[in-house]
């Protein structure tokens, strides 16, 4: 990566493969805002990008890995967390970030998600939630609010959606937060905190999807979505995650919900095996620089 910084150059440019621009995201999509916030967080916390890996699955958000000019994996559908767990186990000194959509992470990859959280694998998981499978045309996603319209639910969704912070907390994540793409400063701050947090950190970002979700549900364009987040989101830090589910047209509770400490997967392995085996056990080389 070239280190020269030209003030006319957008701050994200040194971190992205600009030859792939313009990106595929629609006008008014929120995923680019997540990329902006991530780059600002990297700059503020002075991350060594040679020790940074970005992993994502399939979907609109899954494209993030392809656009980042760092070590990045664009994995199969639903499998970013297994890839990232393997990467973290092989290279414990790396900062491993998972960026993916809600359909990829908690529907197709749902089992990987809960078990990585249960084991407390040292991953930083950013879930961009736009309430639908946008890239494949708008099927019902695992977080689609009740009564919302989708291509596979033309009269309205009747399945109970996932409440992602509650799912992450009950599975064992050590850091759980939710913000919308309107809360950019808070997103940067949360990503900086996640960077320094050992263990399974989960950040849900509510993002507008003007082309699929909002068009089918007559919620206006991307700007209307952002205005809605501005008006209807309520910051409740430390809220009980059982009460933060999202209803169609209702309030969105945002904030940092959980920040607790548990031994990570590799630390727990070291503790258990050195306790049982004593001097015969050689500790796992975890050289994490935080």
């Amino acid at each position: 990566m070239s280190k020269e910084t030209n003030k006319e150059m957008n701050p994200v440019e040194p971190y992205l493969r600009m030859d792939r621009m313009p990106h595929i995201w629609c006008s008014g999509c929120g995923i680019g805002i997540v990329v902006n916030c991530f780059v600002r967080a990297l700059q503020k916390s002075k991350v060594d990008i040679n020790k940074l890996a970005v992993v994502s699955g399939i979907g609109c958000t899954g494209r993030i890995a392809g656009y980042f000019k760092v070590d990045s994996f664009h994995t199969t559908h639903g499998r970013p967390i297994p890839f990232a767990t393997g990467l973290k186990t092989a290279r414990p000194d790396m900062n491993v970030w998972v960026f993916s959509g809600e359909g990829d992470l908690v529907s197709i990859g749902g089992n990987h998600f809960i078990h990585a959280a249960r084991r407390n694998a040292d991953l930083k998981v950013i879930c961009v939630n736009n309430f639908t499978y946008a890239m494949t045309g708008g099927q019902v996603g695992p977080t689609a609010p009740l009564h919302s319209i989708a291509t596979t639910a033309p009269y309205g969704t009747y399945d109970q959606p996932f409440n992602l912070p509650f799912l992450a907390e009950s599975s064992g994540a050590v850091y759980v937060a939710r913000w919308t793409t309107f809360h950019v400063r808070q997103l940067v701050k949360s990503m900086q905190e996640i960077k320094n947090k050992p263990g399974f950190s989960f950040l849900e970002v509510i993002a507008p999807c003007p082309t699929i979700y909002q068009r089918r549900n007559r919620l206006g364009d991307g700007l209307a979505g952002m205005r809605y987040y501005k008006e209807r989101s309520k910051v409740v830090n430390g809220a009980d995650t059982r009460n933060v589910d999202i209803k169609l047209g209702g309030d969105i509770i945002v904030g940092k919900f959980i920040d607790r400490d548990r031994p990570t997967q590799l630390e727990a392995m070291d503790q258990e095996l050195s306790h049982k085996l004593g001097d015969k056990y050689v500790p796992y080389p975890t050289g994490v620089e935080r």
Partner: protein, 94 residues
């Protein structure tokens, strides 16, 4: 690599009272006209241009650079990496 940028310098002059002044850089060709930067600029520096870029979107233009304090919210909100702001300290104010 990068197309010509529309830059405008804040005037480091006597009229300003703020501690900071800002510069805004726009890449017209990258813009997809979502309007986030215009809507969420706290000091209303930007407006949507009536002319279109080559993709047929209306990019933002700078209408009131005097008000800019370089907070870079436009850069954080732009999903297409087409705009960003830079903050400078106003030495006369300190």
């Amino acid at each position: 690599m990068v197309a010509a940028k529309v830059g405008s310098k804040g005037k480091n002059g006597t009229k300003k009272k703020g501690k900071f002044f800002g510069e805004v850089f726009i890449v017209r060709e990258r813009c997809k006209g979502c309007g986030f930067c215009v809507e969420f600029c706290p000091t209303k520096v930007l407006a949507l241009d009536e002319a279109m870029n080559e993709k047929g979107y209306h990019p933002p233009i700078i209408v009131n650079i005097e008000a800019c304090n370089g907070c870079d919210l436009c850069g954080l909100y732009c999903p297409d990496f087409a705009i960003h702001g830079i903050r400078h300290r106003n030495k006369e104010v300190g």
